[in-house]
Symmetry: C2
DNA sequence: TGTTCTTACTTGTTATGACAAGATTGATAA
DNA sequence: TTATCAATCTTGTCATAACAAGTAAGAACA
């Protein structure tokens, strides 16, 4: 039986790639294509819509940017899954937040090094520039999928101690509090949206150009000393933050 | 004099478009191309790098996704400017936050309508589904550039009253408090990253696929009644949120 | 039964080409 | 001096084509 010919308005002012994108998007939302299900290949879509491959790729590229699909080189195109969230009002490590909500999570240290603090890190941690600090890079996993890259900067000795701990299964915050005796108190955050670049994309298995929730977090002890400065890069397609704030308070 | 030939490693395993992207990116960061300055055209880059137009477009497409450049159909490619931020711990309207920091800001109402609340809006505002609410859509400007789309839902009568006010220069929060006598107290937020779609992109003059900081905010009065439910879409390339949070508090 | 190789299918990269659509600039005419 | 038009330059859209690189499945061989 002949494959079904897709209906498109070739006389429409709407670009072909936009029409195709909207048709595919509607199919994702109406459940025709389900999360993690493989979508038709580029060749199949070319045949169905009777367009060139570049037109199909442009439509798919947009869906990918919107986080609705992902592609695996040589394998296929898949529908993305909906996202988790963390309550932001509470200063918590990722593991404690996720496990209290029933998600399976762990992290993998992908790099550890001791290096001279750059201007930003020195200023945040109230150290002299070029003073040695520890940098710990971890990829966080949620339900066995990578969800974020976490780059932490701490004073050298603390970092060198931490790297010997089981950072796969334990949060740095809990180790600092329970094992090392620091009273963590407050944190300053700044939050913005960015796009994944190639190296980040490689680490958390996300295509370049995907939306990223980027957070800088500086955590203080109870005596107001900065202790832990982090860059957190969460994939925007799978994660959101929530919080409750008040009016009139600083 | 002959245009300078760009150096590239044609025998490198790194794709040509990636090399070009990194060269251009370095030039943005080192100041060779400055914010709002027009970059070389696609044709000029084709000639300089001796590659096809699609290779150049792919490199530029990536820089665009990273928010470093923007394109104007028929005009050219420009370097983006660095971003502003809002302190998130304080529940403020955009105008009051930005004007207290010396930015020039205003908003434009792009749509107002009264419509039946959908499930989400009804639930957030503690109304019956299909009860009529007011929807106010505004584009916010910072230093005369569009920076966000704000879609507010309020009970019908309040919305119908508000739309008669000068929403170009005044914040809805201040009108609710000072003119209408509501004591705004707290808000719940959820924050995530997404990519701009075509319609949003058109409203805030951003290319599709650019990173967006998307925030849902539900504001309550002092007697804990939900009053104002908003979707806020901030361009990620020009804006970030900051806040200070505490450990151990809910 | 396990391993290796080949084939086929998938997405990634790059090229050439053409025309559409928007913006700008300069020339011309009123 | 102003308005209009044409030419040129810019990005947007779409086509055809070829080869690279990754994955999977099935066949063949040990």
């Amino acid at each position: 039986m002949e494959p079904k010919k897709e209906t498109m308005l070739t006389l429409s002012p709407v670009p072909l790639y936009t029409q195709i994108r909207e048709i595919l998007r509607a199919r994702i939302f109406d459940g025709t294509y389900k999360a993690h299900e493989q979508m038709p290949s580029e060749s199949e879509l070319m045949r169905s819509f009777e367009v060139s491959r570049i037109t199909v790729r442009q439509a798919l590229g947009d869906l990918q940017k919107q986080g609705l699909i992902f592609k695996i080189h040589g394998k296929g195109t898949y529908v993305s899954q909906p996202k988790a969230f963390q309550n932001l009002a509470k200063l918590q490590g990722f593991g404690e937040a996720m496990s209290s909500m029933g998600y399976e999570t762990f992290s993998k240290v992908v790099n550890f090094r001791v290096l001279p603090a750059d201007k930003t890190v020195a200023k945040k941690l109230d150290l002299a520039e070029n003073e040695m600090v520890a940098e710990i890079r971890r990829v966080r996993y949620l339900n066995r999928s990578p969800i974020s890259l976490d780059v932490s900067y701490l004073p050298r000795q603390i970092g060198e101690r931490l790297i010997k701990e089981d950072l796969t299964n334990r949060d740095i915050f809990l180790i600092l509090e329970n094992d090392y005796g620091y009273a963590l108190d407050q944190a300053e955050l700044q939050i913005e949206a960015m796009l994944a670049d190639e190296s980040l994309g490689r680490l958390i298995q996300l295509e370049e150009g995907s939306p990223i929730l980027r957070i800088e977090r500086l955590t203080f002890t109870a005596d107001n000393q900065p202790l832990d400065f982090e860059y957190l890069y969460y994939r925007g397609d799978a994660f959101q933050y929530r919080l409750r704030i008040e009016r009139g308070r600083i």
